[in-house]
Subunit: 200 residues, 2 copies
């Protein structure tokens, strides 16, 4: 089967490609260093599968999966990620990903996952099956937006003018987010949201 490897960290991308290529039934026909490049490559090279990192520049792996789904591209997606965050997993499943495994698994498991997916089965790291039951993202669009700007170190006032709101409203959203996440202040809230993959 023909696969593409999309992963921004050069060493892992190269190592993974080399090892997968050693397998008799797998041929790596392309390597992408960011999401946009991956999408482009899938559309021109038409691989059977794509091994996709989530955290990448330009477009995240999840963005790419969603784009493929929208354009009804037949290329199967196997997500490969460092973090077992419930938000990531849920979004990946909704975006039609057929495999989801952690970068902690050995390469042999990745190869096995590729074969499973190619055969029409799903492949999910056991650690992640549990994640399925975890909480949904409790933040509204607005709250997420404000929290993301706060993460960049902006003050409430700056966030307000960036979003054309009053300062009070911004503080209000932050306050709601803090309570929903059971945090003590905005820093705590940012950490809590990130841990679950609820920002981005």
């Amino acid at each position: 089967m023909k696969v593409i490897v999309a992963e921004d960290q050069g060493m892992l991308r190269g190592a993974l490609s080399a090892l997968l290529d050693l397998e008799d039934d797998i041929e790596v026909i392309g390597q992408a260093a960011d999401g946009a490049e991956a999408l482009e490559m899938i559309r021109t090279l038409r691989p059977d599968l794509c091994v996709m990192d989530i955290e990448m520049p330009k477009m995240s792996g999840l963005d790419v999966a969603e784009a493929l789904q929208k354009s009804k591209d037949p290329c199967g997606v196997v997500i490969l990620t460092t973090f077992s965050r419930s938000g990531y997993f849920q979004r990946a499943m909704r975006a039609g990903a057929r495999g989801f495994l952690l970068k902690d698994s050995p390469v042999s498991e990745l190869a096995a996952a590729l074969r499973d997916v190619q055969a029409g089965r799903r492949a999910v790291s056991p650690e992640l099956a549990l994640t399925f039951w975890e909480a949904e993202n409790p933040l509204t669009e607005r709250e997420r937006e404000v929290l993301k700007l706060a993460r960049e170190g902006l003050s409430s006032g700056e966030i307000a003018s960036r979003l054309f709101l009053s300062g009070g409203t911004v503080r209000n959203y932050l306050s709601e987010a803090i309570q929903k996440l059971e945090a003590k202040n905005r820093i705590d809230a940012i950490a809590a949201a990130e841990k679950n993959g609820w920002l981005d």
Copy 2:
């Protein structure tokens, strides 16, 4: 030459070990998933070199390098890291590391670096040579300590009682840190310090 690979992310650790082992002159005699395990392994297996990640559980790669230096262990250290942070680089050099490269380099470069170091030369990613000239950590011990607690989402008051200081003093340290780092507030300061590897 006999080497050990210390890296917490399973997939990269396995892939790297497999590929290095394919080289005629390199033999991977051990793999460690955290710093403590790496140190233990170096002392019992006595490899020529160790490929060492920085961010690992229990002991960071830099902690291990420092421990080896203190005990005058002859094992050479090649640091392998995601981030080009000046603080990391400077600390690694002081700890006697002989190689320092980014996880963006291809595996072939890692193999070349191992040979260079084994031959008594240094091996440093070109991106990092510049880093040598970058700013030293401007934060005092106290400021770093306070900033690290702030990063966990603690309020000034909580930090104060944790360190047996008055609230005012803590705010004072944070204020100094904010100014030294040219940040707008504590969140910004935390981000700036982390970017340079000045916390930990």
